[in-house]
């Protein structure tokens, strides 16, 4: 029983680690430039505060995921890991929702505010940011599953469910 739990948790953590690392790397290396009317403008992730904010929790989650894979199994360390998992899951959901809001404006624009979509001018930037957002969304879901599984493992053996 304990072996199965360990294997499942390690598998989920590896999945989450892969997702967060790829999200961070894809967002940081995304850039493209376009020339409009002889004015060159560069699209990088740090032009949008939302994407700058997105990179920080993903990087923190990557570092934490790496550390949590290798921590020893005393009881107080386990409790701390559960609490940190909940915190990191919250960070990930907030960062992905912020980045998705601004990314949606970049892809579709906002007619009422006179904001044109930029994905046609900088397609490489857009594609890489899309990939990064998909990975970040998957990471948030995996952390949610990990939290529910930890909750089930700690508290469920006494319930008929």
């Amino acid at each position: 029983m304990a072996e199965t739990k360990r294997i499942i948790t390690i598998f989920l953590r590896l999945l989450a680690l892969g997702a967060t690392v790829s999200a961070t790397v894809a967002m940081v290396t995304s850039h493209d430039s376009a020339e409009v009317l002889n004015i060159k403008f560069m699209a990088k992730y740090n032009t949008a505060p939302s994407f700058k904010f997105y990179v920080i929790p993903e990087a923190i989650a990557s570092g934490y995921g790496l550390v949590a894979l290798f921590l020893s199994r005393k009881s107080w360390v386990d409790g701390l890991i559960v609490i940190m998992d909940v915190l990191i899951a919250m960070l990930l959901t907030s960062s992905i929702s912020a980045a998705l809001a601004v990314g949606e404006i970049g892809k579709k624009g906002n007619g009422h505010a006179g904001w044109l979509p930029i994905c046609d001018q900088v397609p490489k930037f857009c594609d890489r940011v899309t990939g990064s957002l998909i990975a970040g969304f998957a990471a948030a879901i995996v952390y949610l599953v990990l939290n529910l599984y930890s909750l089930h493992v700690v508290l469920a053996p006494l319930f008929p469910v």
Binding site: A48, S50, I81, G106, W115, L151, A156
Partner: protein, 196 residues
Amino acid sequence: MAVQSGEKLPMFIWSNPRNRWTLLVLRLLAFLAAAAATLVMVLNKQTKTFVVATIGTTPLKLTLTAKFNHTPAFVFFVMANGLVSIHNLVMIMVDLLRSKLDYKGFRFPMVAILDMLNVALLSGGANAAVFMAELGKNGNSHARWDKICDKFGTYCDRGAGALIASFLALAFMLLVSFISILKLANSSSHISHNNN
């Protein structure tokens, strides 16, 4: 890696009646804050007439409206806050009627899980709206997006008020979720002691 089942978690004095009222008061505050955020954002509207050109002596006027449903992030914000306020209302009623609505202690994990999910939903809605509001306030020179807050000041101010209320609701919901999980932990250790 997983926490061992049946380990000792800190005993929270849950039979103390004062703690029951703490949870109810926190839920009430979260409900009020989320409902205020929803209402302020839904009723947020500003119309302004601009003079775009002058033909001869007659000015050409253009009337523009700023509403919350022009922006998908604000629509999601309204829905998230609405759902969280309904959730809190239902949970307050469940808490007041607890002896009639229980089935073998099934109430505790359901309330804890629902609270966690609602915290995630509220955090998502509030964060998306806050970054959209930042974009409206500062614009983005790289993408040639103009800011709109200098023209629609009242819309921006009311939106800011709704966002502040939503973040207060998020803080209260975090405390509520924490207390619900502690209650779940204590109920399960209580049951295990009774079975032993």
